[in-house]
């Protein structure tokens, strides 16, 4: 089971009321390489991957939920007090018509979240390579959002999340090395 802790993993500060950034950030909330997809992908893979790397998938998957909450916090703060007029100007008019300021699991283009984002092949090497690719794609997404944002405080939190993708990618590479390892093999010659 899980326990909730009433704190963010990293402080999230937002300087400007800029709902347009929320529209981009939603990519990391409900997009194909976003935090929700990552959390669900890793936790789902736990059940069929060799025991030696279950702990890692469990713990990275759990950390992704903390990242999801950080992204939600950013979106919440960027839109909380924005007027319908501001939301319209930010390209969020259609979102407002459907959802008011509620968060919705969708990507930056407005496509709703889908289970097809969560790959599960059952082959441990294929799945771990998928995970490594997912981390690198998420890293790239953070880069593109940082490139479009001029809010230094928000960017500080985004840089933290980008660095976490780098670390997770390394750990998944180590998991591949662990599964490649031949120490357990019976020597027959």
């Amino acid at each position: 089971m899980w326990y909730y802790e009433k704190k963010l993993q990293y402080p999230v500060k937002v300087r400007d009321c800029n709902p347009r950034l929320a529209k981009y950030l939603i990519e990391q909330y409900g997009g194909a390489d976003g935090e929700l997809a990552a959390a669900l992908r890793y936790l789902n893979q736990r059940y069929t991957i060799p025991d030696k790397v279950v702990g890692l998938l469990n713990d990275i998957g759990t950390e992704e939920f903390a990242h999801l909450e950080m992204i939600a916090t950013m979106v919440y703060k960027l839109t909380k007090d924005a007027t319908p007029e501001q939301l319209k100007e930010a390209g969020l008019g259609a979102h407002y018509a459907n959802h008011d300021r509620a968060l919705f699991y969708q990507n930056a283009a407005g496509d709703p979240f889908t289970a097809t984002y969560i790959q599960a092949k059952g082959d441990p090497i294929a799945d771990l390579y998928e995970d490594i690719a997912a981390e690198e794609k998420a890293r790239a997404t953070y880069q593109w959002i940082i490139n479009m944002s001029d809010d230094p405080e928000l960017n500080d939190s985004l840089k933290f999340l980008r660095e976490r993708e780098v670390i997770h990618s390394l750990r998944f590479r180590e998991a591949v090395e662990i599964l490649k390892d031949e120490r357990d093999r019976k020597k027959i010659f």
Partner: protein
């Protein structure tokens, strides 16, 4: 020591409609150069520093945006 960004110069046609970006770059973070983290790597001195960098180990820190842009790179 490796570099955290790589550069390349795309082909430029006289018929390209936008002003050309002559040098493009991409990020090559430290994890690409390590298959398995060796034990005992130096750590940031305080938990606060580790938190602010997003990692416990300076050698795994990947700055972004590129802190040292190449002189001929326009953006």
């Amino acid at each position: 020591m490796f570099s955290q960004f790589k550069y390349w110069e795309p082909y430029i046609s006289p018929f390209d409609p936008c002003p050309p970006i002559r040098v493009k770059s991409y990020s090559t973070p430290p994890n690409l150069y390590i298959n398995f983290q060796p034990p005992g790597m130096p750590q940031f001195k305080t938990p606060k520093q580790a938190l602010l960098h997003g990692t416990l180990w300076p050698d795994l820190y990947s700055p972004y945006p590129n802190p040292a842009k190449r002189g001929d790179q326009l953006e």
